[in-house]
Every structure is written in structure tokens, then in C-alpha cells.
Assembly symmetry: C2
DNA sequence: CATATTCTGAAATGATCATTTCAGAATATG
DNA sequence: CATATTCTGAAATGATCATTTCAGAATATG
């Protein structure tokens, strides 16, 4: 017997996420956040919690989207190798297509060292991508598309690392050709 | 005919750098900084300038140290390939040996998108490392230690990217074995 | 050694920060 | 439709922020 929450929580989280994404955790003020979310701070504190809790929710929201994307790819009817190559190519294009770098990476370097909860979320995200890649690479080896000499564990780690670096390279140099070249090189590398 | 500055500017910059390194630009307060520098804020504003100017000086200080390290390596009497391999191995060990990630990378992801001056310093730093690697790889090809089929431009970019990613991987997983394995893989890759 | 100049320390500044309070508006339930 | 309950908006809170002010201490120069 009472009023119910007026704002759409998911929409609000998404808008807050964009603010954190652009300004970082410490760079985003609560005013920036509530302005974007179009809610009053009392509503925020009543429902989601404080700034840190909101941030956790936003990081989680971001990694959940990525998780769903990987799950979708695994359900594809294409061969594992095709899914893998497509993923690599789209990862390259996603860097080039955005003004800003990946939020998980930005967050890792800004706050993960001093924030265990954030670190755990990002570690889980990284582990999920690792298992995704590991599985595709292993199956590609079975398919005969990647040499049996290659090590799926190493290649999975290697791609994740490389991809992080591509984000920094594009952030600093804004040179799409460089990033695409590196993407092609990685594909050639695993292809034989 | 007047008093001269009492504090050692380089020492103060170094101490401020460590604070920014740990907490980030937005996470470090002026109190944190002046406490570490052991100077009063009026002295800071009289000599160096405001927080942003201090940060610029700190980032510059950090990249200057890296520049000197690369210059030193180029003067070595060993073969280019040996210098290159040593640099890769020491890059790996420098990640594993520290609690915190490389300051240039942290800064790139925290503020470079919204701060042109910082971005320019980091871009120059990245360009310097690129030329360093490019030169060593080219000479290694001449020495016959790296295949003529390899592209020095690509490999230089690739190593810088990979190294950035190793920083994130170690930050999240704290697994030295993973990083060393990737370092060995890269060396094997260029060795033919 | 006198003094003009500059540095330093403490305190003040005013803006902004995250968070809380609370009156009144809204509404789910009986 | 009455009302108990919960939400919302505006304002208040007190802490902290970066930066400035200024009196007095320090000292380089003549």
C-alpha cells in the first residue's frame, strides 16, 4: 500500500554508466550522475545506494552485456574458427568505431588496484573472455584450422592482452590502419 | 636580493608522482600531494603551479626516465637482437616486480581522452618506444636474427600493445607465470 | 649589517563534494 | 474512496576540494 519507484532502474544505470565511462569513477560527480539519470539523489540513495554501489552496478551492467555477446557467439552455427575470426575482426572494429576506450579496461587501470569488488568483477569478465577464446581455439585445433602445436591457453591470454593494448594504441594515435594491421597479423598468426 | 626556494623541486616532483601513480589524477587530492611533497600549497602554487601543472610535470618526469632508459640501451655494445631480447625480458620482469601498473598506461586510460596536453606527452613517449623497437628490430633483421619476412613497423606496434595488455593481465590476475609465458612466446615469435 | 625582496606557514576562501533530511506528493491496498 | 506507506524534490548538511591571501620569517645582495 504505497507508491512504487518511478524511474526505470535499468535505463538509469545505463545513463550513469555512460557518465562513469566518459569521466571515470573519481572524475564523475554525483551531480553529473543524477543529472544524466534524471533522478534526484534521494531517489538514488533510496534505491541503488551510494556512489560506489552505483558504480559497481554500472561495471556489472557493462560486463553483463559483454557476457551476453559472447554467449550469443557461442550459439552460432558457423565453425568455431569462423566465430573466432569474426570475433577478432569485430573486436578490432569496435575499438575503431568508438570515441572512447573499453570501459572495463579504463576501470581496471583507474580503480581496480584499490578496489577489490571492482577488481573481482573485472577478473570474472576477463576469465569469461578467456574461457570463450580458449574454447574456440581448442575447437579450431580439432577442426584442423589451427595447428596442433599452438597452445590454446597461451593464445587466449595473448589475444586478451593484445586487445587491451590496441585500445591504448588507438586512444593515443587514432590510427585505424595500425589496429587493423595488428588484427590481421594475429589472425594470420593463428591460421598457420 | 631575496630568499631562494627551500625545497628540492625534483625530489618534490618525484614524491608527487608516486601519489598520482597510486591514486590517479582525480583520486589524488592536493593535501595528499603536499603532504607527500612536504611543502605548503602556497609554495607549490608559487613555483610549479596548480594541480594540473604539477600532474603534467609528473607525467613528464615519468616519461623522461623511460626515455633515458631506452637511450642507455641503445648505447650498449651487445648486438641489436640481444638488446631487444633483454629489453623484452626486463619489460616482463618490471611488470611482475611492481605492485602497481605502469603510470603512463594508467594515465592514458584515466585522463588522456579528455586532456590534450597529457595525451601529447604520452603519445611522444609511445612514439619514442616505437622508434626504439623499430630500430632494434630492423637491425636484428640486418643481423640475420629476425626473418626478412617480418615487418619492423608491425612488430614494434605489436610489442607496445602486447606489453600494455600484460599490465592489465597482471593487475587482474597477479599471475607471473602467464606474463613470462607470453614474453617467451613473443621472443620465440620474432626469433623465427 | 641593512634592507628589499621572496619564500613559507597558517588560515581563509568559496566552490563543490557525497550524503541526509523532511515535507508533501503520489499511490497500492483494503 | 480513505489511508498507510513510500517515493520525490528541494534544501540542508558538514566535509573536503583546489586555490588565495598575507603576515612574518628568511636571505641574497649591496
Amino acid at each position: 500500500m504505497a507508491r512504487s519507484v518511478e524511474f526505470n532502474e535499468e535505463e538509469a544505470i545505463q545513463k550513469a554508466m555512460n557518465v562513469f565511462w566518459e569521466k571515470g569513477y573519481n572524475g564523475a560527480s554525483l551531480r553529473d550522475l543524477t543529472d544524466a539519470m534524471k533522478i534526484n539523489s534521494s531517489s538514488l540513495y533510496n534505491t541503488i545506494g551510494d556512489k560506489h554501489e552505483l558504480f559497481i552496478r554500472c561495471v556489472k551492467y557493462y560486463t553483463d552485456i559483454r557476457k551476453r555477446d559472447l554467449d550469443r557467439r557461442l550459439k552460432s552455427h558457423k565453425s568455431s574458427f569462423e566465430v573466432l575470426v569474426e570475433y577478432i575482426n569485430e573486436s578490432v572494429e569496435s575499438i575503431i568505431g568508438k570515441e572512447n576506450s573499453c570501459m572495463a579496461i579504463k576501470t581496471a587501470f583507474e580503480v581496480a588496484t584499490n578496489d577489490q569488488r571492482v577488481k573481482d568483477i573485472l577478473k570474472a569478465d576477463s576469465d569469461y573472455a578467456y574461457r570463450f577464446l580458449h574454447s574456440l581455439i581448442s575447437k579450431s585445433i580439432e577442426e584442423g584450422k589451427i595447428s596442433k602445436k599452438e597452445d590454446p591457453e597461451l593464445l587466449a591470454d595473448y589475444f586478451i592482452s593484445t586487445w587491451t593494448g590496441w585500445n591504448e594504441a588507438y586512444l593515443l594515435h587514432k590510427d585505424p590502419v595500425k589496429i587493423r594491421k595488428m588484427g590481421q597479423y594475429f589472425i594470420k598468426l593463428i591460421s598457420g
